[in-house]
């Protein structure tokens, strides 16, 4: 069994599900012959043809609206926004229809669609190609929002997303699309869509993150370990519904929590996690909660993007601030 990258795991999951479920259709700009601008759909058009892998005209509103229409009629569209920054025109159909159709019709109709998008910064891409809009979707009742951080989790969570009978927003951290390879058996095994993954056990501080920043967060944990400080590292993975219990259990143990995310701080997912800590873990915490996040500015053009994104250094500094409390 070959080792594969995160993006290859995405392709593998798409291929598996197209092959096994005749209602699955992939659609988006350049997903066909070209195989996607990142190659996420490479080979799928050749293998499954133009009735399963559809290039769309260049209009995100249409992609979203068509996917919603297909989903109401029993297909499982897996639509792609070519980049995170082009997802905003899709929000109306996602918020007003995809997320509500089941509830609105008391279950008569539902919307089993997935909206995939490459997500996040750090690849020196042009403007609007490096955004982290997950909080905008996590606020919307009726959606699920998923961001994998490893090839195996990308495969298992994407399968779960496609099989889920409700709409799922699936963000793929493009900075780590090809960061490393691991063995991902093509066994069709899905992962649960409602749990956080504890990537590293620790007793002194809880580091919570998702997406590409799992890398920097694990590095920070390594650095702390060298100083004899043991950080627990949690990959949230599914940011909605949020598995707060796993985070809470960890904080009950460590008494400290640092949340790391790329998106702008104000109103990011970090706010919701910190809020739940303030509601449910006040007396477990020995130190104030820390958020290490993108700044409250748009993602700058790429010359400055690495200064915008949370660095190992910033994560370490925050962890140490929490450790100053006993």
């Amino acid at each position: 069994m070959a080792e594969i990258t995160l993006i290859e795991a995405v392709t593998q999951a798409l291929a598996y599900e197209i092959a096994h479920d005749p209602s699955v259709v992939v659609l988006g700009e350049d997903v066909g012959v070209n195989g996607g601008v990142f190659r996420a759909t490479a080979g799928l058009h050749a293998r499954f043809g133009s009735e399963r892998v559809l290039d769309t005209p260049l209009d995100e509103t249409a992609i979203a609206g068509l996917a919603v229409g297909m989903a109401f009629q029993g297909m499982k569209p897996v639509a792609e926004a070519q980049f995170d920054g082009f997802i905003y025109p899709m929000m109306d159909h996602i918020i007003c229809h995809a997320a509500r159709m089941r509830s609105r019709t008391r279950g008569r109709l539902h919307c089993p669609m997935v909206l995939r998008a490459p997500w996040g910064g750090g690849i020196r891409a042009p403007e609007h190609h490096s955004e982290a809009p997950e909080a905008l979707f996590a606020h919307i009742p009726g959606l699920r929002v998923v961001i994998p951080s490893s090839p195996a989790r990308a495969y298992g969570l994407l399968l779960a997303a496609i099989r889920d009978p409700d709409p799922v927003i699936f963000f793929e951290p493009k900075r780590i699309y090809r960061q490393y390879k691991e063995e991902v058996p093509d066994d069709g095994e899905a992962l649960p869509l409602d749990v956080c993954f504890v990537l590293r056990d620790g007793s002194d501080v809880t580091l919570v993150t998702w997406g590409a920043h799992v890398k920097e967060t694990l590095e920070a944990a390594d650095a702390l370990a060298k100083e004899g400080i043991y950080a627990e590292v949690i990959d949230v993975a599914t940011v909605k519904p949020l598995d707060f219990d796993t985070i809470h259990e960890s904080v009950q143990k460590t008494g400290r929590c640092v949340i790391v995310h790329e998106a702008a701080r104000t109103g990011g997912i970090g706010a919701e996690i910190a809020a739940q800590l303030a509601e449910k873990a006040m007396f477990d915490l020995v130190a104030p909660v820390e958020r290490v996040t993108g700044y409250d500015t748009p993602m700058p053009l790429f010359r400055l993007e690495m200064k915008y994104l949370p660095s190992v250094e910033r994560i370490l500094a925050a962890a140490k601030r929490t450790l100053a409390y006993r």
């Binding site: 259709v25 009735e51 769309t56 005209p57 209009d59 509103t61 249409a62 979203a64 609206g65 068509l66 996917a67 919603v68 229409g69 297909m70 989903a71 109401f72 009629q73 029993g74 297909m75 569209p77 109306d92 159909h93 007003c96 229809h97 089941r102 509830s103 609105r104 019709t105 008391r106 279950g107 008569r108 109709l109 539902h110 009742p141 009726g142 699920r144 889920d164 009978p165 409700d166 409602d194 909605k240 519904p241 949020l242 598995d243 707060f244 219990d245």
Partner: protein, 359 residues
Amino acid sequence: MKTVASFTIGYRQVLDQDGRIVDALPEFARDPAVLVDLYQRMSFTRVFDGKAVALQRTGKLGTYASSLGHEAAHIAIGVAMKPEDVFCPMYREYGVQFVRGVKPRHVLLYWCGDERGNDFTGPKHDLPWCVPIATQCLHAAGAALAFKLRHEPRVAVSVVGDGGSSKTDFYAAINSAGAYTLPYIGVIVNNQWAISVPRSAQTGAETLAQKGLAGGLRCVQVDGNDVIAMLAVMQEAIAHARRGEGGTVVEAVTYRLSDHTTADDARRYRPDDEVKQAWDREPLKRLRRYLEALGVWDEAKEQAWKEQCGREVDIEVNAYLETKSQPIESIFDYLYAEAPHDIAAQRAQAIALEGRPHG
């Protein structure tokens, strides 16, 4: 300068406002029974509509969008479609829906703020009413795409208003239908007003039908008060689509004889004269005249039919009035196929607030 493309937009009218036949009668219209059926359906819709407005005025219904004046367009759409086709309405196409088996009680439930109105009788695959203007057009195009990919001989029909035909979603539906040659019919029910904004302020286009040219679709303008022409146009568009030859934009020219909704007061912006003249063109009168001329309808039949409609509507109104509000947990119970843990606690809390044991 060389000409690389040329287009014409045709206008279809068979029965003029005085009840005269002014163009070749379509085959179906040679059968008076068919015409009587169309008339009765239009009449039923109007009786229902009057009753719904009365319910609202007496505090027994929320804001309601009347279909007064749109009966011909709506009934023709309903009659032209097959049950397996998908209808994607805006919010006032009760006529279409009654033909398709939706019960008036569901219309009323919806407008009294109860989601169960959307879980209506009739084709389970039809979309519910759609408040965000024109978004349903793309859903119809998506449904049509599903039919095409599954090789099903079904069509999807959406309705928008003259106002809705300005909305990007409608253009996107046209673009998609053209690009994929979809079995999609985009009907514009042009009733001349979008709340207070007149048709002339929506666009610089001579006709709304021609918007279809932007996507390479067939385009037809039709007298939307003439149920015969309207049905003929819909049948042709649907047949064309069912043959796999692509979509059509149909502009049905009609008039909104009511306020926009019961929350609106059209006298603020609309000349009385215009409304008065529009009543001369309304769809029922002309067909009744024609049927009377054919000798298949008369005042006695009219009275009997109206009474029958009244009785049927009353049964529905009573069923509606007897429908108790849903319990609060219903807002959680249909949100996901399986409720995630994060809403379970909220559900319990909401029930507890009512002093009921939760389960």
